[in-house]
């Protein structure tokens, strides 16, 4: 892509022209496509097709709107969903395959890279925390709220 093209594309994004809305709607469609289909085997090509963009143009626009490339965003959605599943007592393998990873190794590696701990240690920590909360919920709620609502133990 030449410099002239790049400049034209950037102008499209920053000027308050009416057609810009259509551009944004397409980027948003791609983002929502990731949010709804992260569990399937989707790749950049599906995502760009979804928004009717050429690949490179699309990556740049997406990044300018969301601060991440579509691929980085897809990975972050998958890891975020995996965290939720692990908190809900799913096994590491269940979490891995239900968020669209094909291999446990790549899932565990990426999970650790993003969250700083392995999926199994993350799950164990949350299980222990959940047990503590269920035994003594008041210990986890600021007492001013508990007082106002009459939750305090007599």
């Amino acid at each position: 892509m030449s410099n002239a093209d790049t400049n034209r594309d950037d102008r499209e994004i920053i000027t308050p022209e009416y057609p810009r809305v259509y551009l944004y709607i397409r980027i948003v469609q791609a983002k929502l496509f990731i949010d709804n289909n992260y569990a399937d085997e989707i790749d950049l090509e599906n995502i760009a097709d979804e928004a009717y963009f050429s690949r490179f143009h699309f990556i740049r626009l997406f990044k300018s709107a969301y601060g991440k490339t579509p691929h980085q965003y897809l990975k972050s959605v998958r890891i975020e969903k995996a965290r939720e599943l692990l908190k809900e007592d799913k096994t590491v393998a269940e979490a891995c395959f239900s968020v669209g990873f094909q291999s446990l190794t790549s899932f565990s590696g990426l999970f650790k890279k993003i969250t700083g701990e392995s999926p199994s240690s993350y799950a164990a920590r949350h299980k222990a925390m959940k047990k503590k909360i269920s035994e003594k919920p008041l210990a986890f709620v600021p007492s001013c709220y508990a007082y106002q609502h009459g939750w305090l133990e007599k």
Binding site: A65, F140, V141, P142, Q148, H149, G150
Partner: protein, 144 residues
């Protein structure tokens, strides 16, 4: 020495609906969902990149804090849209606006250039309104 605000309230009419709105539509992260007896939950969420600020989705129910009359009054005021909860910052206000609109969020004002930046206004599912602004757009120095 006080250093930070870490917990604040948003009064909501229904916790299930507020959970859906803040987590599934706005994309906030669920922090705590602790049962505090029948029909009552300690429900808190955080803006995605700000885990040290928890918003309590605080149900308006008759309790020690809200006698019947107070609760009724508060519900009326919330539904009238009297309460604003503050400013939310986003990466790109036009993309965020289109996305929230696609998810059914009700906007009072589309992104509009103001002297302090580009701003949109939307309401939560109870009637509380938020100002939505693009990052780097709010700077006092720019306005002097």
């Amino acid at each position: 020495m006080i250093t930070k605000m870490t917990v604040t309230n948003i009064h909501v009419l229904d916790q299930d609906s507020a959970y859906d709105f803040y987590v599934n539509k706005l994309g906030f992260k669920l922090i705590d969902d602790i049962a505090m007896g029948p029909d009552t939950r300690w429900l808190t969420v955080s803006p995605p990149e700000q885990p040290d600020l928890q918003l309590v989705l605080f149900p308006v129910k008759v309790s020690k804090m809200f006698p019947q009359e107070t609760a009724d009054m508060l519900i009326t005021l919330i539904k009238q849209g009297v309460f604003g909860c503050g400013v939310l910052t986003c990466t790109d206000i036009f993309a965020t606006y289109e996305e929230l609109k696609a998810k059914g969020v009700e906007f009072l004002k589309p992104p509009t250039k103001e002297f302090y930046g580009t701003e949109a206004l939307f309401k939560d599912d109870s009637g509380n309104y938020f100002s939505l602004q693009s990052i780097n757009n709010f700077s006092h120095e720019d306005n002097i």
